[in-house]
Each structure stands twice: as C-alpha cells, then as structure tokens.
C-alpha cells in the first residue's frame, strides 16, 4: 500500500506558507474531489495505486530510468557543466483526462491555433487587425519578433505555424487556461511518445483496464502535415528533412527521434546547399533535393544572408529560396510574433476578430509592463506575481514572486523599471495537482499540459500531450530546465 506521504499538504503552496495555512490557496486535485472521493476517470488508477508496494514502485522507477538512459533520451541543461546530459525525470503515475474534458480542450485549441495562423497571415499582409484598432501597431511591427522580410509572402496553404505546442494549465473543475502558445519550434513530443512506450512496457495491465486514446500516430500525422504543405513547384512525392543545430542542442534527441520515426533524413546546415533554385542535401551519391524542411533551428540562424550573418547552422540563400517557392520551411519564419508574451494578452481579441467567436479557452490574466498603469500594479505587487521576459522561454529569466528572495525581487524591480516593455506579469496560478510517485509513496504534485497540434491540410491534435510535473514538493515550475519531470498523459475514450 502506497502511503499518501504528504497527502494533506496539497493545500500548501510551499514550506514558506506554512504559517498562513488559512490563506493558502486550495489547489485543484485532479484525482480527488474536495470531499476526498476519487473522480471517476481516476477510479482504476487509484485502485491500482493502492495495490502497488513501495518497493515494487521503486523497482519500476529504476527500470524506467534504465530504459530512458539506454535509449539516450537525455537533454542538455545549459550552464550545467558537471552533467550536461541528464534524464528528464519520469513519473510512473499517469495523468488522466476524461473524454468530455478532452473534447472541450480540443475545440478550444483548434479555435486558437486557427485564429493565430489567420493573425499571422494578416499581419504579414494587409494588417487589418491593426487598421481596425484591435492591437497597437507598434506592438506588432515594432516587435523584435516581427519579421519584415515575411511581408507579402504567401506560405503554402497560408499556414505559418504547422507544429504547435499549446501550454495549458488547470486551476479548477472547469477552469483551463492557455499559458503559452508556442508557435515557433515547440519541443517535447518525443517525451510524449516515449513516456507512452515506457508505460506500456512497465504496466501493460493498466492499459488492459482502460481505453486510452493512442498517441502513436503522431509521427505519421507529422509526415502527412509536412507533405501537405510542399511548395507548388513540387510535382512528385515531396522529400522531407528535419534540420537540427546538431548533437549539442538540448533537444537533439527529439530531432533525431522524429526524423527516424518519419523515415526522413536528419540534416545539419553543413549538409545542405542551394543550386539552381533548389535546396539539396549532400549525399553519398552526390545530392538529393529537399522540398519541405522541418527546421528545429531558430529563425535568426536559418540563413546567414538573410538573418544573423555569423550563423553556421543554416543555409546561405535559404530564405530567398523559400520566398521564391522553392522549398517550404516549417514552421514559417516570423511566427514568433504570434506567441510573443506581449501579444499574448491580445489573443482573445485576435480570436474574436478572425473567427467571430468567443474564445473557448481563457487566457491567464496578464499585466503588460509597457502600459504605465499596469506596470505600477506589477511593481506594487511583485511578490505575488510571476514576471516573465517578453521574449524568454524555457523558464529562463523568470521571477516567481511568492518564492523569490528580497534580493531577487529588488533585482527584478530594477530590471522592469529599466525596460518595462520587456516584461509581462501574471498572477501565480494555482496549478492543479496529480498524484505522483515520490520517494515515500505518492503525493500530489503540480502539473501542466502541452498538447501537440499539427496544422496542414487539416488540423490534427494528438489526444493528450505532454504532462510536465514539478516534482519538488510545493514547486510550481514544471520546466525540465528547472528540474521538472514528465508523465504519460491519458485521454480516456468513452
């Protein structure tokens, strides 16, 4: 019997809050209702947890780690020289999403992704949304993430962001919020797939007892998506390739994993060259043409002639070739403007403007430090807020007010005052918790969710996604770069 090691602690944000339990927020527990009863979707999981011995779970945990390490599913942590190849901790207890909950999320995500692609097309063409006064012009065209080179260009299918990882957090029974849209080069899908592999290997009996929606079709769907946006000049079966910065990139495992699963080449900039209006890769027999390039290299490194001239990760002339319709780059350059944290606050307006519908999924309330009133509010309430850099990602350059030291608060105050437009702030979210396997049994830990969306000839959303879990007790930071882990995520079918 696995004890609920700190089962009653789920009402505490952290040890720091111990003195003020009454004010502490009650976190939404995805397995247990407030009255302690088990929610229907978790019933069999709870029964199963009750049958596991602590030693048995510890052995399974070791087995899981051995599987991941042998497969080389590691990631690099920047600025951590001692062990620059680490495993992302894997949590054995799956996160379960009921069928009707998923249907709701799916509708909301699809609406959002559709609207954001329409927004991208618009701002790189007539900019109707700016003319209509729904979003300030300088927020868009004055934004570092806006790519003037994309103006007037029609990408195949008018799709900009083909591969999306929408970060969603839950704070209550029916309270889901989109935290980030991740429209550039979202990662994590390989963990979703390998977590499922590992779970099926470790606990086949659990799958026999549930109807879990499969995720294994993702690579096939990715392939179909990429093929559907081949450039118009491509008359035969398009040749696809995945472009990686190389083996030292933190997501290299994923790049090679996806190339392998799709059965396409994993290329680096040095493998590619352009000749007579065609992108080629250097092969043992000379060269082979590439039609669609799924790049996992940032915009600024794609082409030294168009962007950063010191980049050796890209291909000289790639951007011109793209604009001439000789190759499709996925995701399109310039999508960063739509998942910019300053633009984020406008996404509900964006959805209404392009779809005429109310947003299905809510935004997290966001204060823009670029606006004087909101900035004041942020500075006055710094210790209650999460402050993010507008262009940052991966949990770097972030302040979590309630957990910050005085010195950190003072440092951020200075930073915000120096460049207000570089920051946004959001209330600390009471992220929901899921039971997680911790050393002394199971205990609730905070989670978020990144479903993976593919946009091509149609929108394909893999049921579930990647659940990230903050394994440190009380922690709300789920980023793997900050010590978070992952869980297999189950969408139950009716």
């Amino acid at each position: 019997m696995v004890a609920l090691a700190d089962g009653m602690m789920n009402t505490q944000a952290s040890a720091k809050n111990k003195g003020s339990m009454k004010e502490a927020p009650a976190f939404f527990d995805e397995m247990r209702s407030a009255d302690g009863s088990i929610r229907p979707a978790y019933q069999k999981i709870a029964d199963w947890m009750g049958r596991q011995s602590r030693g048995g779970m510890a052995r399974k945990q070791e087995e899981a780690e051995a599987i991941f390490r042998r497969l080389g599913i590691t990631f690099a942590v920047y600025g951590d020289n001692a062990s620059n190849e680490r495993l992302i901790p894997f949590d054995l207890i799956p996160r379960v999403i009921a069928a009707q909950e998923w249907r709701f999320l799916e509708r909301g995500i699809e609406q959002r992704v559709r609207a954001l692609n329409l927004f991208l097309y618009d701002i790189y063409h007539r900019q109707e949304i700016i003319r209509a006064g729904r979003i300030p012009a300088d927020l868009v065209v004055g934004n570092e993430a806006f790519l003037p080179q994309m103006m007037g260009f029609d990408p195949p299918g008018k799709i900009y962001s083909h591969i999306v990882g929408t970060d969603i957090v839950r704070t209550g029974e029916n309270a889901f919020f989109v935290l980030e849209d991740n429209l550039r080069t979202p990662s994590g899908v390989s963990y979703m797939l390998e977590d499922r592999e590992a779970m099926m290997h470790l606990f086949p009996e659990l799958f026999a007892a549930h109807r879990v929606a499969p995720v294994e079709r993702y690579p096939e769907m990715l392939r179909q998506t990429l093929e559907s946006v081949a450039p118009p000049c491509c008359k035969s079966d398009p040749t696809l390739a995945v472009l990686t910065p190389g083996i030292y990139n933190s997501a290299y495992f994923e790049h090679s994993f996806l190339a392998d699963q799709m059965g396409v080449e994993l290329v680096q900039g040095s493998d590619l060259f352009i000749e007579n209006g065609t992108l080629y890769m250097r092969t043992v027999s000379g060269k082979e043409r590439i039609d669609v390039l799924y790049r996992r290299v940032d915009d600024s490194y794609l082409d030294p002639l168009a962007f950063r001239s010191d980049s050796t990760l890209g291909v000289p002339g790639l951007f011109d070739l793209y604009r001439a319709g000789g190759v499709t780059i996925v995701n399109a350059p310039g999508t960063g403007i739509a998942d910019d944290k300053a633009v984020y606050a406008y996404v509900p307006d964006i959805i209404e403007f392009y779809t005429g519908e109310k947003p299905i999924l809510s935004n997290v309330p966001t204060y823009r430090c670029s606006i004087a009133d909101e900035c004041h509010h942020v500075l006055d309430n710094l210790s209650h807020l999460v402050v993010k850099e507008v262009h940052g990602s991966g949990g770097y350059g972030m302040l979590i007010g309630p957990h910050a030291t005085k010195a950190q608060l003072a440092e951020f105050e200075k930073k915000i005052k120096a460049k207000p437009s570089n920051y946004i702030a959001q209330p600390t979210l009471n992220l929901s918790t899921c039971p997680s396997n911790v050393g002394a049994g199971s205990a609730p830990r905070h989670v978020d969710l990144r479903p993976f969306v593919l946009v091509g000839d149609k929108i394909r959303i893999t049921p579930g996604g990647l659940t990230r879990v903050a394994l440190k007790k009380g922690s709300l930071v789920v980023n793997s770069s900050q010590g978070g882990g992952t869980k297999d995520t189950w969408v139950l079918e009716d």
């Binding site: 390490r69 042998r70 083996i247 290299y252 090679s256 994993f257 040095s270 092969t283 043992v284 027999s285």
Partner: protein, 314 residues
Amino acid sequence: MLGRTAASLYWMSRYIERAENIARLTEVGYRISLTPDIGIGHREDWKSTLIAAGSYEAYLERHSEITSEKVKHFLLFDRDNPSSVRSCLETARNNARAVRTALTREMWEALNSTYIDFASVRPADLGSGKLPEFLDWVRQRSALFRGSMLGTLLRDEGFHFSQLGAFIERADNTARILDVKYYVLLPTNETVGGDIDAFQWETILRSVSAHRSYRHVYKDRYRPWNVAEFLILRPEMPRSFCFCYGWIERSLEGMSDIIGKKTASLTEASSILHDLKTIPMDAIFQSGLHEFLTEFLKRNNSVSAHIANDFHFL
C-alpha cells in the same frame, strides 16, 4: 544517405575497432609486464605497445618516463589521448549520436550502454589483477556492437560504411603491430628459434587473438615467416590484410552498385587485394618486410582518403 551520415558511420566503426585493438594491445603489454624479466626489458615492451597503438609520440609529449601505470592510464583512460579507449568510445558514441537514425536500436544501445558503463569505471579500481577482466569487458562490448550490427542492420549504405571503417582500422592495426616487431620476424635474424623470439612471436599473435588459430592453420611451432604470412596473406585469418581487403572490396563494390558508378577507392582497394592475393611471402621478405608494411600503411590511408572523397564525407 547523407555524406555526413556515411562519415559518422565510418568513424564510429573505426573508433570501436580501435578501442578493441587498444584493449588487446594493453592486455599483451600487461602480460609481458607480469612475466619474469627474460632480458627484453619491460620498458621497451611498453614502448612497442605505445608505438603499435600509434600513441608513442603523444605519450612522450605528456610523460617523461615509461611506467606501467602511466602507460595503462594513457592507453585506457586519458582524455588527452585521442586513441585511449575512453576517447575512442566517446568519439564513437558522438558519431553514433549524430546518426542515430542510421543505426538500429540494438546497435545504439550496445554502444550507449558501453559508454555509460565505462564512465563509471574508476582507474583506481583496476589494481590487483582486475585489469584483464576489464579489458575482456571492452572486447566483449566491441563484439556485442559488431554482433548487433551484423544481426540487425540493413545491408545497405549504412552497413557498407560501418564495414569499411572497421576493416580499414583493423588492417591499419595489424600492420602497425607487425611493423613494431618486424625485425624479430626477419628470417635472417641470427637468433631465430631462441626463447625470446618464441615469446615475441607469441606476443604478436596474441595482440590479434591469433595465437591458437595459428596452430590450427600451421600445425607447427611459431615460425616467423609463418606468423608474417598468417597476418598478411592468409584470407581465412580475420585480422589479416587479405581478409580485411576482401571485405573492403566487397563493401566498395556494394556502394558502387548503389550509386551507379565505379569509384577511385574501389579501384585502389581492388588493386591492393590483387597484390595481396598474388605476391608470395618470399618476395615480401626479399624486398624488405618493413618497406612492405610502410607501403601498405600508406596505401591503406590512401584508400581511406579516397572513400571520404568519393562519398562526400564533408
């Protein structure tokens, strides 16, 4: 297949083969250091081990004297020595990581788990007789990798480049071992047949795990010209020049079929194989064993350079 992928597979296999050969050479060096001094001098033998490993100069750049401990550490663990077993495994794994998609899962797991396990070995733990067990382990891991490859890899480009890397490296290694000791193999040697010589010949054969198979083939005591012939011309000896070039030619023919044209590397490899099949051992001794080996090493390097060029390694 990408030229870079081909290059990575080629070098991955070369470095795994090299790790195995270094382990074998170290084992022989270690055996000699345990043998009562019979007048050949242990220092000299570690020196020839270093030369055979192609690491003598690199060693002297870092160490002023040759001692068992220092040589062993240099050959097995030293990151500054690009041919230490540790460096070889790291380079092999980095190459493998760069072309994960071209490897089977079993090949990757064999190599990756070797790398992981090696990282947890502390040189200090290898004292008091544990070294042979460790060296056995290195050879077993290399064998596991090769077995995984032979058992699971499609017989297409990837297989050919892996084979080419392994056999170019192996031919190079056998030639170096012979060259270090060529003088004891010369038939003109006055002391032929003495205990020291017999010991030296056995050393050579042990370095290529051939001291027993020799007896099966020759049914005779160790004779220097037989040892040389065994390692150079015998097509059934899996580390001989002739055997290596048989496979090198086969893989280059396979590649020529795939890309639809005959490459310079194939022409050169075929010519080497033809020479090995037709030249008698007497002729090699007459023109000078050392000269023959030097020439062979040069041609072997040249084939390697041609392969890189023919298949767009860069």
